[in-house]
Amino acid sequence: MNQIIVYTVIILTGIGILAAVVIYFVSRKFAVQEDTRVSAVESVLPNTNCGGCGQPGCHAFAMAVVNAGDLSALHCPVGGNAVMKQVADILGITAVEKDPYIAVVRCSGSFEYRKKTNIYDGTGSCKIAAALYSGDTACSYGCLGMGDCVEVCDFEAMYMDEKTGLPVIIEDKCTACNACVKECPKDILELWPKGKKNQRIYVACLNEEKGSTARKECAVACSGCSKCFEACRYDAITMTNSLAAIDPDKCKLCMECVDTCDVHNIITANVTPEKIQQANEQRLKREERERKKREAEKLAAQQNGNETTPQA
C-alpha cells in the first residue's frame, strides 16, 4: 500500500520535472518576440476593446501605433488626448492633439411632436424595422425609438427616454467610440466636436421633405425656412433639400441662430439661456442696423438714379 503511494509520487514528480525542463527549452526556442512597447502602450490604453479607433481592439491599436510610429492617423477617442500623450511618451514621439467628440441625437421627434400613424408589431430592432418600412410615424427620417444604439453602447452612456421615445446621451460617459453611429439605420446619431467649454450647437432634424410636408409629419421638423441660414455670419449653416445643417468646423458658437428657429430645434448644450438671449438681442440690433443701412443705400441709389438715368 505505502509502496504504491511512494512509487506514484516519485513517477509523477519525475514526469513533472521532465515536462518542466522540456517546456523551458521549448519556450526559449519558440518564444514570440513581441515589442515590449506594445504591452507598455496597451497598459495605458482604456482596454475597453470598443473599436472606436477603427482597430479591432486595444491590443491591435497598440500594435498599429508601434508599427506606424506616428500618431497622426491613430487616435483613441475613449482615452482622448491624455492617453495619447502617455502613448506618445512611451514611444518617444510627438502627440497629436485632437478635439474631443461626443455623439449627438439629430432628431427631436418625441411622442408629443411626432404622432404615431401605425403600430409596429415586428421584431424590436431599429435595423429590422428600417429594412421593412419607413417607420411608425409619418416622418421617414426620424428616430425609430427601439434603442439599437443603447444596446451597442459599451459605456452605459445612453438610455431611451420613455417620455420622448428618443435616446439620450450622458455627456460624462460618452467616449465618442462611434458604435451607436454605426448601428443607427437612420443615421440619427452623429459624432460632434464637444466644443469649447463643452458648448455645442446642432440642428436636431434630418427631414429633407418640403416644409409643409415636413411639418405635417412632425411638429418640430426643419421646414427649410432659412432663417437660421440668413442669421449666420460665418457661413456655418448650409441649406440642402429644405434642411438646415450646421458645420461644426465653421461654427463660432455665437448662438445667434438659436432663437431664429420657429420650432426651437437648434439644440444647444451647456449654454445658458442668458447667453442665447444676449446673442439674440445682438442679432436683432445688428439686423436693425443692416436694415437701416440698406434703406439708406436704397434711398441714395434712388436719388442717384433720379439724377442720372431716369427709369420707368
Binding site: T117, N118, D121, G122, T123, S125, K127, I128, A131, L132, Y133, S134, D136, S140, E209, T213
Partner: protein
C-alpha cells in the same frame, strides 16, 4: 380524372408547409371597380431602375398614354391608367412601405388612346415575330404580376449561351386567400392560351406547361378541355403545398430540375411566367393594350364581400376596401399581398401597383405577433425550408452581424417564403433576421 386520382401529384422535393387555404373569393367573378377620383401612379413599380417621368403637372393625359419611360433595360414603361389632368408629382408612400416618387392624376372621363383595342373579341392569329413581341411587351410595360414585378421583356431575352426548352406558366397561386389568378384562369382561359403561344414564339420553345395547384380543379379542367387539340401545351395539377408557386419550386416540381445556387431559371432550361402576366402579354401583343389594370383580390375572414376586382393601377387601396363592404371593426392589419409573403401597409391611400395581387384584412386576434421564446433546436424550420437552408442558424448569424458567414451558408438563396417563421413553435422572427442579413450583404456590396 379518375386516372389522376391514383397517381401521386407532382410537387417540389424538399420542405414546404400547408397553411389553411381560406380561398374565400374563389367563386366570386371578377368585377371592374368603378373609376377612382384620383390615381397615384408610382414610377418604381418594378424591380430595376425607376422610369423617367415624361409628363408635367397640368398636362392632360389619355388612358393608356405613356407617362414615364423605362430607363435602361431592366426597367419598365409606366402608362396612365386613367384619363385626366396630371396633378402633383411627389414622394408618396407605396405598398413597399417606403416613399417613392409618384404621379397623381385627377380623373376626368375615360378617354382611351385610339390605337388600343378595347373590345372583348379573342384575337387568336399571332402576327408579330419574336423580336416584335418582346418590343411590344417592353412598350406595354408588362412586368411579372405574381408579386415580384420583374420586367417581363428581360425574362424573354435569354442570356447568350443558355438554352431554354420549356416555358412554365405559373397558375399555382399557393398563397392562402388570394384568388386573382384563379379567377383569371376561369374567365380568360382562351386569352391566356394565346398569351402562352405568344411567349412560346418569343422564346422559340416547343413545350409549355401550366402548373396549377390541385385545389383549383375547375381551372385545371377548363384548361384540359381547351388544350385537348393543342400540342405542346399541357396542364399539370400540383400538390397543394406552399411555396409551390416559387419559381425554383415550380421548375423542380414540373421538370424535376434544380436551378443552381445564385443562378437563373434559364440555367435549368426554363422560363416561368405567371398567368396574370401571360394575360397581360396577350393584351399587349394582340390588343396593343398597355398594363394599366390588374385583378386584385380583396379578402379576409371578416370582410363582407370577399371580391376580385379589375382595378386600374394607381387606385388607392381604400377604394377597394369600400367596394368590398368596408373595413371590418375587428381588423388588426391590412396586408398587401398574401398572408405568407405580403406586407402590412401603413396607410390606406397606398396605390395599387402592377405587383399588387391582393389586399388582405386580418382580424386583430390573428394579426399580432405572438411572444417570442428561445430556440428549441427542434429543426422544424430546416424541415420546412424549400431551399434546404438552416434558417435558425441564419437568424443567429444575421443577429450577430456575421453576414459574411451567412453568405457562405447561402443566405442569398432564401426566397423569403416565410415557411420557417410559420412553423417555428417558439414564434421566432426567423425571416426578419434573414431579410436583415440579406439587406446588410446588399449594402456591403455597394461601393
Amino acid at each position: 380524372m379518375a386516372t389522376r386520382l391514383h397517381h401521386k401529384l407532382k410537387t417540389f422535393r424538399i420542405g414546404g408547409v400547408h397553411p389553411e387555404e381560406n380561398k374565400l373569393s374563389g367563386q366570386v367573378p371578377i368585377v371592374p371597380l368603378p373609376l377612382p377620383k384620383m390615381v397615384t401612379i408610382p414610377i418604381a413599380q418594378h424591380i430595376g431602375a425607376p422610369a423617367k417621368i415624361t409628363v408635367q403637372r397640368g398636362d392632360t393625359v389619355k388612358t393608356g398614354q405613356i407617362i414615364a419611360v423605362h430607363e435602361g433595360f431592366v426597367s419598365s414603361n409606366i402608362h396612365s391608367s386613367v384619363s385626366g389632368k396630371v396633378g402633383i408629382i411627389e414622394q408618396v408612400m407605396d405598398s413597399s412601405g417606403f416613399k417613392h416618387t409618384a404621379i397623381s392624376i385627377r380623373v376626368k372621363g375615360d378617354d382611351w388612346e385610339e390605337y388600343i383595342d378595347r373590345s372583348d373579341t379573342l384575337v387568336e392569329e399571332i402576327e408579330a415575330d419574336a423580336k416584335e413581341i418582346v418590343s411590344r411587351i417592353m412598350e406595354a410595360g408588362v412586368v411579372g404580376m405574381g408579386g415580384a414585378a420583374f420586367p417581363s421583356h428581360v425574362k424573354l431575352s435569354v442570356p447568350e449561351g443558355k438554352h431554354v426548352d420549356h416555358l412554365l406558366i405559373n397558375g399555382v397561386e399557393c398563397e392562402p386567400y388570394l384568388t386573382a389568378d384563379h379567377r383569371l384562369m376561369i374567365e380568360k382561359p382562351r386569352e391566356i392560351i394565346v398569351g402562352i403561344k405568344i411567349l412560346m414564339r418569343a422564346l422559340g420553345v416547343k413545350k409549355a406547361i401550366i402548373g396549377i395547384e390541385n385545389n383549383k380543379r375547375d381551372a385545371i379542367e377548363t384548361f384540359e378541355g381547351l388544350l385537348k387539340e393543342e400540342s405542346g401545351i399541357s396542364v399539370e395539377p400540383l400538390e397543394v403545398q406552399y411555396p409551390q408557386g416559387g419559381e425554383k419550386q415550380l421548375i423542380q416540381a414540373l421538370l424535376n430540375r434544380e436551378v443552381p445556387s445564385g443562378g437563373l431559371p434559364a440555367d435549368a432550361g426554363a422560363i416561368v411566367h405567371n398567368v396574370g402576366t401571360t394575360y397581360a402579354v396577350y393584351q399587349a401583343v394582340q390588343k396593343k393594350k398597355p398594363l394599366i389594370e390588374r385583378v386584385v383580390t380583396v379578402t379576409g375572414k371578416s370582410v363582407k364581400q370577399p371580391s376580385n376586382f379589375l382595378v386600374r393601377i394607381g387606385t388607392p387601396v381604400i377604394d377597394l376596401l369600400i367596394a368590398a363592404g368596408g373595413v371590418p371593426e375587428d381588423t388588426g392589419k391590412i396586408v398587401s399581398g398574401g398572408p405568407m409573403m405580403g406586407k402590412a401597409i401603413a396607410d390606406l391611400d397606398v396605390p395599387v401597383a402592377k405587383g399588387t395581387s391582393g389586399i388582405l384584412l386580418i382580424p386583430k386576434e390573428e394579426s399580432m405577433r405572438a411572444e417570442i421564446y428561445n430556440c428549441l433546436h427542434c429543426g422544424k424550420c430546416i424541415e420546412a425550408c424549400p431551399m434546404g437552408l438552416e434558417p435558425y442558424r441564419l437568424l443567429l448569424m444575421s443577429k450577430k452581424g456575421n453576414s459574411e458567414k451567412a453568405k457562405e451558408e447561402h443566405i442569398l438563396d432564401c426566397i423569403e417564403c416565410g415557411s420557417c417563421s410559420f412553423v417555428c413553435p417558439s414564434n421566432r422572427p426567423i425571416l426578419d433576421y434573414i431579410r436583415l442579413g440579406k439587406t446588410e450583404l446588399r449594402k456591403t456590396k455597394k461601393p
